[in-house]
């Protein structure tokens, strides 16, 4: 085993050797090495997070036909650091009547709920993070903590707008968790495991080809979970002046902001893991773990780019439309898809892989087409109703 093939193990063995050399018990040394590893990963994530600010600003500038930050450093690369210094030297205000303890814990929990997601992300075949056998549900569990942090932030600020923003955001987040849970069943069914690594290992064919509809529903639910446009009504600048985090300033606001960006990037990563083969890319991941990390980060960035693309293209929708969209369309479709997939999976067991793919793809297309037909007929009825009302109104005149 050399450094090129398994860098983490080599480094861990080396450090454990040093620590036990100092007379530390081997269990203690192992825990300390694990602690240092986690610390390193999270520090790297925070650095990535800083650059995500730059990427986000550059990309939105391109979408809006602007240049974006380009003054501080080459291509404005130093800009995010300037932003951080600004956030750091700002005054940290606490509004009167705020619930101090809850108010201060909320941004910590918000950031933590994003950082712990990386515990289950497999970066390379030899760097699995923690290969939990309940990995898929762990995403949802971390999301629950994020939801809680939003309620805490909104409630403790003693501000009407923040309470309304928080409750809107939470209603949306919990609603879209249902279709997300439902479509997460589909990779679980295909791979027969809830572990992230097992899901990646069983993707000889990327799951996007087996179930494109599931990938789409996951993306929509993820965007809602992130509270990004078109589902960013919690922030609703024009109505709620930024929503649940309105009273936060300085670094505490920075935590919410950085948490949101890292969350989007992380969900890009999960999208890649669930439906695009994670760190796998035509056997390139076997060459070196470093290459595998590059592959998964690239895929995560691609997913992040799609999320940004949606954000800066689609306009915000109203909360009633959004909840109706979730409960009356997305949830039924997701559950029908789960049932159809389970059935097809049982029927096509042992079939040659081309038949399996075609069957799955066809069932997806049929489910999508039938649900679109339902939407179309519902829309037609709605339109006729409106037309009828118009005619009645005209007859009155």
């Amino acid at each position: 085993m050399n450094f090129w093939n398994d860098p983490l193990k080599v480094a861990a063995d080396w450090l454990t050797g040093i620590f036990t050399g100092w007379g530390m018990p081997s269990v203690g040394a192992n825990v300390l090495v694990a602690f240092l590893g986690v610390l390193m990963l999270i520090t790297i994530l925070m650095v990535i997070d800083i650059f995500l600010v730059w990427i986000e600003r550059k990309v939105v500038a391109r979408f809006q036909d602007r240049l974006g930050p380009n003054r501080v450093g080459p291509f404005g690369l130093i800009q995010p650091f300037a932003d951080i210094i600004k956030l750091m030297i700002k005054e940290d205000t606490t509004p009167d009547g705020a619930d101090k303890v809850v108010y201060n814990i909320a941004p910590l929990l918000s950031m933590m709920s994003v950082l712990i997601l990386w515990a289950v992300v497999p970066l390379a075949p030899v760097m699995l993070g923690v290969d939990l056998n309940a990995g898929v549900l762990f995403i949802i569990a971390a999301g629950s903590i994020g939801t809680l942090s939003i309620i805490m932030a909104g409630w403790s600020s003693n501000n009407k707008f923040s309470v309304i923003g928080a409750f809107r955001q939470v209603a949306v987040m919990v609603s879209f968790e249902i279709p997300m849970l439902a479509v997460l069943l589909i990779p679980t069914i295909f791979s027969g495991s809830m572990g992230m690594n097992a899901i990646i290992q069983s993707q000889d064919i990327w799951f996007i080809f087996l179930s494109p509809l599931a990938a789409l529903i996951f993306l929509i639910a993820a965007i809602a979970e992130l509270g990004r446009a078109p589902f960013d009504l919690a922030e609703g600048e024009s109505e709620l002046v930024s929503g649940y985090n309105i009273e936060y300033s300085g670094m505490k606001f920075g935590m919410f902001y950085a948490g949101e960006l890292l969350h989007a990037f992380t969900f890009g990563g999960f999208w890649a893991i669930m439906f695009f083969g994670g760190y796998r890319f035509f056997g390139l991941e076997k060459v070196s773990p470093f290459l595998a990390i590059v592959i998964i980060l690239f895929k995560a960035l691609l997913g992040y780019w799609v999320i940004m693309w949606v954000k800066y293209t689609v306009m915000r929708i109203r909360i009633d439309q959004m909840l109706a969209f979730n409960w009356k369309f997305l949830t039924p479709v997701a559950f029908v898809l789960v049932m159809v997939t389970a059935l097809m999976n049982a029927l096509l067991r042992g079939a040659p892989s081309w038949l399996f793919i075609t069957g799955m793809l066809l069932s997806n297309v049929i489910v999508a087409w039938v649900s679109m037909e339902f939407v179309r007929s519902a829309a037609r009825q709605e339109r006729e109703k409106v037309e009828g009302l118009k005619q009645v109104a005209e007859a009155h005149h």
């Binding site: 515990a119 309304i164 849970l181 949830t331 049932m339």
Partner: protein, 117 residues
């Protein structure tokens, strides 16, 4: 060694690092509070009444429907894990389970509870 120990480390470090960042902000930032700065922000208008408003019952309905669906969908995960090794019986069983679940959704829908009225 329990794998959850590592997850626990993530929780701890995930709290320490943001706390450090916020602590740094607290250290470097000015601290000059005054009553106007500390009043709650309502677009420059004097805050009226209490911050903790009573809120719409509709939020509760969505949380209620969510609770029931959440619990049931979580139950489906062990089923989905085993599905590859099981026969048609298990598939039908799961479908019956989901159909019962969807019946609840249909009831709520027909009662008009999913409208944002």
């Amino acid at each position: 060694m329990n794998e959850w120990l590592y997850v626990g480390l993530f929780f701890i470090v995930g709290l320490i690092i943001p706390a450090g960042a916020i602590g740094a902000g607290w250290l470097f930032g000015p601290k000059k509070p005054n009553p106007i700065k500390q009043s709650t922000y309502e677009c420059g208008i004097e805050p009226v009444g209490e911050g903790w408003v009573q809120f719409k019952a509709q939020y509760y309905i969505f949380a209620l429907v969510f609770l029931v669906f959440d619990v049931e969908t979580v139950f489906l995960f062990p089923w989905a894990v085993r599905l590859g090794q099981l026969g048609m019986f298990a598939v039908v069983e799961g479908i019956v389970f989901i159909l019962i679940l969807v019946a609840g959704l249909v009831y709520t829908w027909r009662k008009g509870m999913l409208e944002w009225a």
